[in-house]
Amino acid sequence: MTAAIQLAVGRRETVVRQDRAGTALWFLLGPCLAYLAAFAIYPLLYSLRLSFTDLTAADGTGRWVGLQNYRDLIVDPLFWNAAMNSAIMVFGAVAIQVVLGTALAMFFNLRLHGSAIVRGILVLPMLITPIVVGVMWRALLNPDWGLINWAIGALGFDPPNWLGSIRMAMKTLILVDVWQWTPFVFIIVFARLQALPQDVMEAAQIDGAGAISTFRHITLPLLMPAIAFAAVFRAVDAFRSFDLIYGLSYGGPARSTTTLSFFSFQNGFEFQNYGYAAAVAYMMLVILMVGTTLLLRHVQLRSAHAQ
């Protein structure tokens, strides 16, 4: 009898404890879930619904057009132009940033005198808002009164047509993106570099490995996870980049720097084709999801293979 009562009480206490734990769980998770629902899930679902309508400025709700916006996108040369520009920007900018960022990290790892101060200055560009970076560089590169053109001219050279030529504008955009975001790669790689086990390096030196050989066969493989993280993070960021383009080149000339983000912005906020703009944004989301998954899987496979 006593044992039965004790068992019953024990069960009740367990249930009460579970209830309390459940309440606490909801109490703690609730605000986060509410925040996610309001500011992430609802906008995502709303814009998804929007992408199936032909909502424009003069239209209050928009008609349901199913997949028409997506069908239009597939045959829209402007969409493919923007997709190509996004790809060029992502691969161009991230490749240079990874190489430069890693090189800088290796250089600062030599712990030269005064490197701490230089390191601090080096990361300043990434603290500036991209729109400000865009406007600032547009002024610096102004063909009539820009400081950089003046300096190049003073040295006796003919300055390039930074933002006025179809062939040059994307290169300029990549250059400015590299200027701003190489420090990000540098910081990630440098942090990893500081944490590398020194005994492996010393063993390599004892075995007679030179600096290049040590870097290639030991340092670089050990740095790969950090480099991969920085590259994926930067690729996603560069793919979404809008404000820099808005401030620097406004997608021109002749749409040579119009990326998917800018294309979506133009359709949504300049032409008020909200449905079409939402479809572009969702295509970007799909591209990002597929691209990021493939990239991460590739990196994981390489890491596993290396190990």
């Binding site: 021109g252 000339p253 906020f269 300049e270």
Partner: protein, 473 residues
């Protein structure tokens, strides 16, 4: 609404215009007139009480890209003193203004009782049914100041921003009023350097051949023979190409915007010819003209680096401002050049102000009273005198004091009177079509394609847009 015949309200009391004209005639300065106006009560009429809505707080959403908000900001204390209405100004740049306007127009309740909208957006915003019809207010002597004088608004400006036929979905047709021209109107005029032209024995260009010949003759290492909007900018198509196009006989659209036959004529000989004219004067333009937008041209002209150009008349403000311009005394104006046998004319620009339908109903009448105040003759005159903003009232152009002070007003008035409402402004897709044109034309100017290809690309792109929107079968 009665827009013809004798206005029964005319002549009652002492009108602001008469005070201003009188003051101008005896040489009173703008400051003194401001003081005089501050002491002048609006003319009283039976039932109209300017203080009826005293204590009401209103908000206006307006452009921050031009000087309109500055002029209105200066006048707010006077508005409050005369009407007791406290008006708050929100003035973002154009892009943000459009977005904010649309958000407010589509919301259950607009935060702004007054909204200033670009004339090119009248079809989108007024045609979308978002603005209150104003005829009842205009015709009500209890609601409208007797000296406000609706008939004084420039007809072209009124048709561009105020009048809309909802049944026919047509801008500028009928007599239903949804917006009041303001805070400025405008078109395109010809700016040239009198000193350079005189020294070279040239006369201001009357034809496009004259324009090119003058550009050729006046071009030096330091001064460009001419300039234009060469960047991928709204005004490349709207000002420089469109002016050349219509003044050489071009017709932009055929058919009906509400039918299925609204067909562009961009790749017509006139269309290609207009773009070719711009390409042909590239050697006499500033080196980087393909990156020149609004600001670069105004700066270039004001600092004496450009001999001639056609431009929005609204830039008269900075160009004739002696504190900001090095060529204020040596600049002349005239009508835009035109091909022989063609009338000089250009695009109709300007803004309108309306009352959104979804504002607090209790504030609509107060909003109307404030709207009549900010668009009255004295306010318009102040804006012209202080900021050289383009007028939206006919009386401003016949004011002897203003004309003496700002001779360009004569050309500005004529330009507005003869201006052409660009046919693409009759549909919602205006900005998208304009953008396509700017991109392709800019590409032609930087050598990426020839004029014929650029016009063919625009033609194809416009047809696709029009088909998608249902304006072309």
């Amino acid at each position: 609404m009665n827009t013809k015949g004798t206005d029964p309200r005319a002549g009652t009391g002492i009108s602001r215009r008469r005070i201003l004209q009188g003051a101008g005639a005896v040489g009173l300065s703008g400051t003194m007139m401001g003081a005089l106006l501050g002491q002048t009560r609006p003319a009283a009429a039976a039932g109209y009480d300017p203080k009826r809505y005293a204590g009401t707080k209103l908000s206006i959403l307006m452009t921050g890209d031009e000087n309109d908000h500055r002029a209105l900001g200066d006048l707010l204390p006077q508005l409050e003193a005369e009407t007791g209405i406290k008006l708050e100004i929100t003035s973002p740049a154009l892009g943000a203004l459009i977005e904010k306007t649309l958000q407010n127009l589509k919301a259950d309740r607009s935060n702004f009782e007054l909204v200033e909208y670009l004339g090119f957006l009248t079809t989108q915003q007024v045609g979308g049914g978002y603005f209150e019809q104003l005829n009842a207010y205009i015709d009500d002597p209890n609601q409208t100041p007797p000296d406000w004088d609706f008939k004084d608004f420039i007809p072209g400006a009124l048709h561009n921003v105020g009048i809309y036929d909802k049944k026919a979905h047509t801008l500028g047709q009928g007599s239903d009023v949804y917006g009041i021209p303001g805070l400025h109107s405008g078109s395109v005029i010809y700016f040239y350097r009198k000193d350079l032209f005189d020294a070279a024995g040239l006369k201001p260009a009357k034809t496009w051949d004259d324009f090119k010949a003058a550009a050729q003759k006046l071009h030096t290492g330091k001064i460009a023979g001419c300039s234009f909007i060469g960047a991928n900018d709204f005004s490349l198509a709207a000002v420089d190409w469109y002016t050349r196009f219509i003044t050489t006989g071009g017709v932009l659209m055929t058919g009906d915007a509400n039918g299925k036959d609204f067909r562009p004529q961009v790749n017509s000989p006139e269309g290609i010819g207009a773009l070719q004219m711009l390409i042909d004067v590239l050697p006499y333009a500033p080196k980087n003209v393909t990156q020149y937008g609004f600001a670069e041209n105004v700066d270039g002209f004001s600092t004496g680096k450009i001999a001639q150009m056609i431009f929005w008349s609204t830039i008269a403000g900075p160009v004739f401002d002696k504190d900001k311009s090095m060529v204020a005394d040596s600049t002349g104006t005239g009508p835009v050049p035109a091909a022989p046998g063609q009338k000089p004319r250009a695009i109709q620009g300007g803004w309108g102000v309306g009352i959104p339908k979804n504002v607090d109903p209790a504030k609509k009448a107060a909003a109307w009273l404030a709207l009549t105040w900010i668009t009255n003759k004295a306010s318009n005159r102040y804006a012209i005198e202080k900021y050289q903003i383009d007028a939206n009232r006919t009386s401003a152009f016949s004011d002897p004091a203003l004309l003496k002070q700002f001779p360009y007003l004569t050309d500005s008035m004529q330009a507005i009177a003869d201006a052409d409402i660009i046919p693409t402004a009759r549909i919602d897709e205006f900005f998208q079509m304009n953008d396509t044109m700017n991109v392709e034309f800019n590409k032609a100017l930087i050598g990426g394609q020839d004029a014929k290809t650029a016009c063919a690309n625009v033609q194809a792109s416009w047809e696709t847009i029009l088909r998608k929107a249902g304006h072309l079968a």
